[in-house]
Symmetry: C2
Subunit: 453 residues, 2 copies
């Protein structure tokens, strides 16, 4: 069996995988700040080429480019699997909380530290190395493989839909492996069949033309107070969103979904310990937690700023106040429709002067658990990780809806990212043993997928 040799190749070449990942981490690529994006795209292109994959950079105007990789199967050119990944990373702030340079790629035992070590350079390298293993051991791949590696996932994949439409034919495929997959505390990969949507906005307002002396606070309106008055109308302390008609299109979970959720493990004690929290928002427990992670819309303050916030005391009325909010959406919610509801809400509550900048809107997606592609992935997970967890939907967001809709193919998320690996937080890391298992898993998925009709 050639697959056995391929998996042995993976084991034998873990040092190279780790080394190539560290090189990727060491190249900063913060899309929110346009830091190192083009350099990183070139590095990824060369990483693909080094593994024997044809690679090119796709540019559409001035957006961060997509790195596209492709390798045709000689024996089985009629089926195509597409790996979606991203080479951009989240900002590193607050930088003072990192124990090492966020771009060091420092290795400590089984862990590799650095921004992007898990999300998503770690995931990306497992897929590239899976293909390399087949090429080096068998001289072929079990089916056609395509790589779509984008550069603005962390800011909301603003142009992925444009790219997908433009390169619809080039990207055509029969199945999509999503950019990431979590692994739980018992080393079980979580196979996500869906993702939440996102509406990311910034609300801002000015009340005067400059910061002014706070002795004038009896006369000059304070934009921070006004923004707080407005924010207070958006949701209640339990997290329920108070915007009119916000939940109108949300469907109840199906019995099948609830069955999957019930068998979905969630260790409340462990989770609380990891994040240093005593109670969950709204005192959630048991199945309610699982339902909310898979299917509850949220309204989260990602950032708020106004006035003087450095050390010491400054007596000032700020001229401006700004807040960034991310609303997670569930299937059937239309980001554009929700944006209009938000605008109407602010207006009808007397906050029509608050400016709304929309950073990103994207719908949720879910793949039917009965689709045959699901069994290719679950069977591969069983063989490589020894076990797996099936999940109705990730609590996170990605442009899955754009992919499934435009490419008309099912998408499934599976990968190597440990749930507590601090993605988006200081001291993000990845685990080398999980990188190894995920790489093997990708090999077996390719094999399973190639054998199906």
């Amino acid at each position: 069996m050639s697959i056995k040799k391929v998996l042995q190749y993976v084991d034998k070449n873990m040092n190279t995988l780790v080394n190539d990942l560290c090189i990727l981490i060491q190249q900063p690529s913060v899309s929110a700040k346009n830091q190192g994006i083009k350099k990183c795209a070139n590095l990824v292109k060369n990483t693909l080429k080094k593994s024997g994959i044809k690679a090119e950079i796709l540019n559409t105007k001035n957006y961060p480019p997509i790195v596209y990789g492709e390798i045709k199967s000689k024996n089985n050119p009629h089926k195509t699997l597409l790996f979606y990944n991203h080479y951009d990373v989240q900002p590193v702030e607050p930088i003072e909380l990192w124990n090492n340079d966020p771009f060091s790629g420092k290795i400590d035992g089984n862990k590799i530290y650095g921004r992007g070590s898990s999300d998503d350079k770690g995931e990306m390298i497992t897929r590239i190395k899976a293909v390399e293993s087949f090429l080096k051991e068998t001289g072929d791949v079990p089916c056609n493989v395509k790589f779509v590696i984008e550069g603005e996932e962390e800011t909301g994949s603003a142009h992925i839909e444009q790219y997908l439409k433009k390169y619809k034919k080039k990207f055509s495929c029969d199945g999509i492996i999503w950019e990431f997959g979590h692994v739980d505390n018992n080393d079980r990969p979580i196979i996500d069949l869906g993702m939440k949507g996102l509406l990311y906005v910034e609300l801002s307002l000015r009340e005067s033309n400059m910061d002014s002396h706070s002795s004038l606070a009896v006369l000059i309106k304070n934009p921070a107070w006004r923004l707080i008055d407005a924010l207070k109308t958006l949701r209640d302390p339990s997290g329920k969103i108070l915007i009119k008609n916000w939940y109108n299109e949300v469907k109840s979970l199906s019995n099948e979904d609830i069955k999957i959720l019930k068998s979905f493990p969630f260790n409340e004690v462990e989770f609380k310990k990891e994040f240093g929290i005593k109670q969950f928002l709204g005192n959630k427990k048991g199945l309610v937690i699982k339902k909310s992670l898979a299917a509850e819309p949220t309204c989260n303050i990602a950032g708020i700023v106004s006035g003087y916030h450095a050390e010491g005391a400054k007596t000032v009325i700020p001229a401006e106040a700004r807040v960034k909010i991310d609303f997670r959406l569930v299937p059937n919610m239309d980001p554009k429709k929700q944006e209009i509801r938000l605008r109407k809400h602010l207006k009808s509550n007397g906050f029509g002067d608050i400016k709304i900048k929309v950073y990103h809107g994207e719908a949720a997606a879910r793949t039917d658990s009965k689709h045959p592609f699901v069994s290719h992935v679950t069977s591969a997970a069983s063989k490589s990780f020894g076990k797996y967890i099936l999940s109705v939907s990730s609590a996170g967001t990605g442009p899955m809806h754009s992919f499934t809709k435009i490419l008309n193919a099912p998408a499934i998320a599976i990968g190597s990212t440990h749930v507590f690996s601090r993605i988006h937080s200081p001291n993000e890391y990845t685990r080398i043993d999980l990188l190894n298992k995920a790489t093997k898993c990708m090999c077996i998925i390719l094999e399973n997928f190639s054998k199906s009709r």
Copy 2:
């Protein structure tokens, strides 16, 4: 008449005054950041000495030192006037809104720009030069003069009371000229007989041990939301403070106060234009505006920060949220008592986990409008500026209560700071013509004061 010669000396030596002020501006002295404090104290000491005033630096532990200046009158050693000033300045942020280096001391026609140009280095130089003018023209001063120039006024004069108690005898005097005085748009000096008090606090809370991925917002509490929920309980949109018993000790304004307020000019149109605002907070108009400036307590957000607030979008649940609040107090309100009321309020509203850091607390002060010292000042203002405005109380805060209580002397504020000179804001400036008039005014105050019993 020697006073005529003294005033001529002031006119002839304006270039030196301007030059000495620019040198003071060029020495940064941001107390909130402990930037340049000691250097500036030495510079002020030398400026006093250059003008013929005995000067020394008073150190109490590690606090910013006080620069003390003193000159005894040969002819009239039985009366003492004390000038209170400060050499520290506000932080310069937001620095990108300055047209020039904040510490340039750039001269443009009648204006000198820079942090501290008005508040308080501009005021300080007028008093020093008034004394110098007498010494150079007459070889004496009309009465004893003392200078108390502190270095932490802009952070709330945290240790002035300790200094006043320690040096009570050294600082003993019969009248105090306060550190600043506003001049209105018609070049009328505003003579303030009082100041508001201040309680400056920072509220903060953490809900988890790190910033986390916002997909977890269904479970992890967001400290920004919690802080907003708490803040919303502190005041209503009109500015009324909702903390229980907050206004308990506030007395109504007397008929005499209201009479002074009625004749107090306030140009609503001009004010709105200067600050780029359409309506005043709570739609205030006419006498209500004047009453609120003199005697309304406030609750102002000076700064709020949580999560990601740089450019772009980051999907994060902040671990921590912080807000700086300044409460202005009026006579009879005890800062300590108000602090306890704030703590009780948060606790009883379910926000007992919010930490409260007190930066500063200080009571309000008012001098009786019938005190003879008032007429010395008003008469000098008439002669130097040609006109004046009497004011029940400044809307601002200073440690006036500590001075009047410990030194048992009346305090009056009069000076050269144009009301729209952007103190505490970017592009702060002072006007050279007003520096000239204020210097002459100080000369005449010394003369008037020395002649009284």
